[in-house]
Amino acid sequence: MTTVIETQALTKIFGQKKIAVNDLYLSVPKNSIYGFLGPNGAGKTTTIKMLLGLIKPSAGTIKIFDQPMRMDSVALRKRVGYLPTHPTYPDKMTPIKYLDFIGKIFGIPREKRIPRISELVRSTDLLGLSSSEIRKFSTGETTRLGIATCLMNNPDLLMMDEPTTGLDPIGRASAISLITELGKDPSKTIFISSHILADIERFCTHVGIVSNGKLIFNGTISEVKKLTNANSIILELEGDMHMFTQFLQTMPNILKHETSPGIVRVYLRDITYYKETVLQLFQFIADNPYQLISFKSGSENLEDAFLQLLEEEKSDGFLRGIARAL
């Protein structure tokens, strides 16, 4: 599998005081939509800025498209688009003038630049605002301009730092639909940092979870879900709940269950027999007068997975540290 971003032992310590990123091994496959997930202050923005060469790493290496990223790696940055969390632009410029300026910086010739601006203004829904000054823009409109700006050079890699933060529901939906559209382009790799799990779950194919500057998971979305909480099933049912719970007590692979009106959460004793247990449950529902409204495997919930991984990191971190030291 070709990787677009690869870091090894990437570390950033600010002023010998704060460890922002700690020994980060990141691997982003080509043509993926990679969600870089972590709570606030986990080191996501610092990592992105190091990947872009804006911040110098204290230790470790960064390779983008198999080439080391340095402060003045201009040729490499021509293949990258970056959307900061809160993009800021010259107040008195219009989007068209700003995009033209960015196009000139990338050395795009006029005959290519003008159609490109027109295409981007249309696709980011900025046509109605094309003659307005940027200072009059809302947060959502500024984000849309940010997306247009980072697409100006038609990059192979897009880096977006919390693109949906601070947006109202309409702005968020618009940004999500734009990112989803971009994700459909097989030539592009998208790296999105966020702490909003719903967004990551919605359009990402791969995920990296970072906590306290350390990568605690790196894999596909389904892998993270499988890894955690796969030992539970949530059933939404209509029918005799008492009979159903009695049946659950007879099943050897069921450790415990929790019931609330119409919903049963079942915890499995052994994940190895997951398929057999689910089949048995479905068979019982089919044989009896039950209406199955919904079925959800515990592993489908990214939020649970995320929280569980963070908890595990907290409790295991100390022991792992000692083990490594030994």
């Binding site: 800021t88 990338f106 050395g107 010739p109």
Partner: protein, 283 residues
């Protein structure tokens, strides 16, 4: 002499020249090795100049539109007219130079002081994450601020000298070289304060510190000499007070080249320091 024709082939709009084609007799007369060398792919990338010029033009546009700069330009014009109404001889030029040294320097470092620190975490990040090198970014800032400052200064001085000349108010034995010397010295002071502001702006994270730092230098080099009768030839207030002697070329206190060297080297040092600072800095 052999005739030849040459053509350059540009690559896909990235401003680099890929092939140089030679034709006519010259191509035929070349040895195979030399021909291969010349005809081979020569890649000269000029994009760094384009980026620098684009950035500079952008900074000039932004700077010219800034409210402070606009107010300053109108104020200069108003003051220039006011002087010409009251004084109609060469001393009008001395008044205008003093005005620029006393107040123009403040405007120079005030606008320059926020130029980099005010953009860190915002516009600077956006630009430096694209195909902009750090030195291009800093150098464009310096060039644009110096350009705006000098255009305002030289336009007004030129206008005033022109009006005085048309009014036949200039002395007949006026030495042009001496006028150029005093104007150039004042222009260099403005350049020094501009570059100082940008240098400090690249050092500090907050614009207020850059402006305070520049203000301190302004206080020591200019304001102190307005208030007190102290004598230090490198202070623009002091050398401007000898305006009449400099114009008449009778000022023997200090060789001009000392002043030119001092005010010529300061901007170079400031520019170098700011470039170095940008390469040490995290964004």
């Amino acid at each position: 002499m052999d005739s030849y024709e040459a053509s350059l082939e540009r690559s896909n709009g990235d401003n680099s020249i890929n092939n140089i084609k030679l034709g006519g007799e010259m191509e035929d007369n070349l040895s195979p090795g030399l021909k291969e060398g010349i005809m081979g792919r020569i890649s000269i990338d000029f994009s760094f100049i384009t980026v620098y010029l684009t950035l500079t033009a952008h900074e000039v546009k932004i700077g010219m539109k800034s409210r402070l700069q606009m107010v300053w330009m109108y104020l200069c014009l108003f003051y220039g007219i006011l002087i010409l109404l009251s004084v109609r001889d060469i001393s009008a030029l001395a008044s205008l130079l003093t005005f620029f040294i006393n107040f123009g320097t403040i405007i120079a470092f005030s606008t320059a002081g926020s130029s980099i620190s005010g953009e860190i975490g915002g516009i600077a990040d956006t630009l430096l994450s694209k195909s902009v090198r750090r030195w291009q970014y800093v150098l464009a800032k310096h060039t644009a601020h110096v350009f705006i400052s000098l255009v305002t200064f030289l336009a007004l001085i030129g206008l005033e000298i022109g009006i005085l000349w048309m009014m036949k108010a200039l002395p007949e034995d006026l030495k042009v070289v001496q006028v150029v010397i005093i104007i150039s010295l004042n222009a260099l002071v403005l350049v020094a304060f501009n570059t100082l502001g940008i240098m400090l702006s690249s050092f500090f994270a907050k614009p207020v510190f850059a402006i305070l730092g520049s203000f301190l230098v302004w206080f020591v080099l200019i304001f102190l000499f307005i208030l007190t009768p102290m004598w230090f030839p490198y202070s623009p207030v002091v050398f401007n007070s000898y305006f009449a002697e400099i114009i008449a070329d009778t000022w023997g206190e200090q060789p001009y080249w000392h002043l030119f060297l001092f005010y010529g080297c300061c901007p170079i040092v400031f520019i170098l320091m700011s470039v170095i600072s940008m390469y040490i800095k995290d964004f």
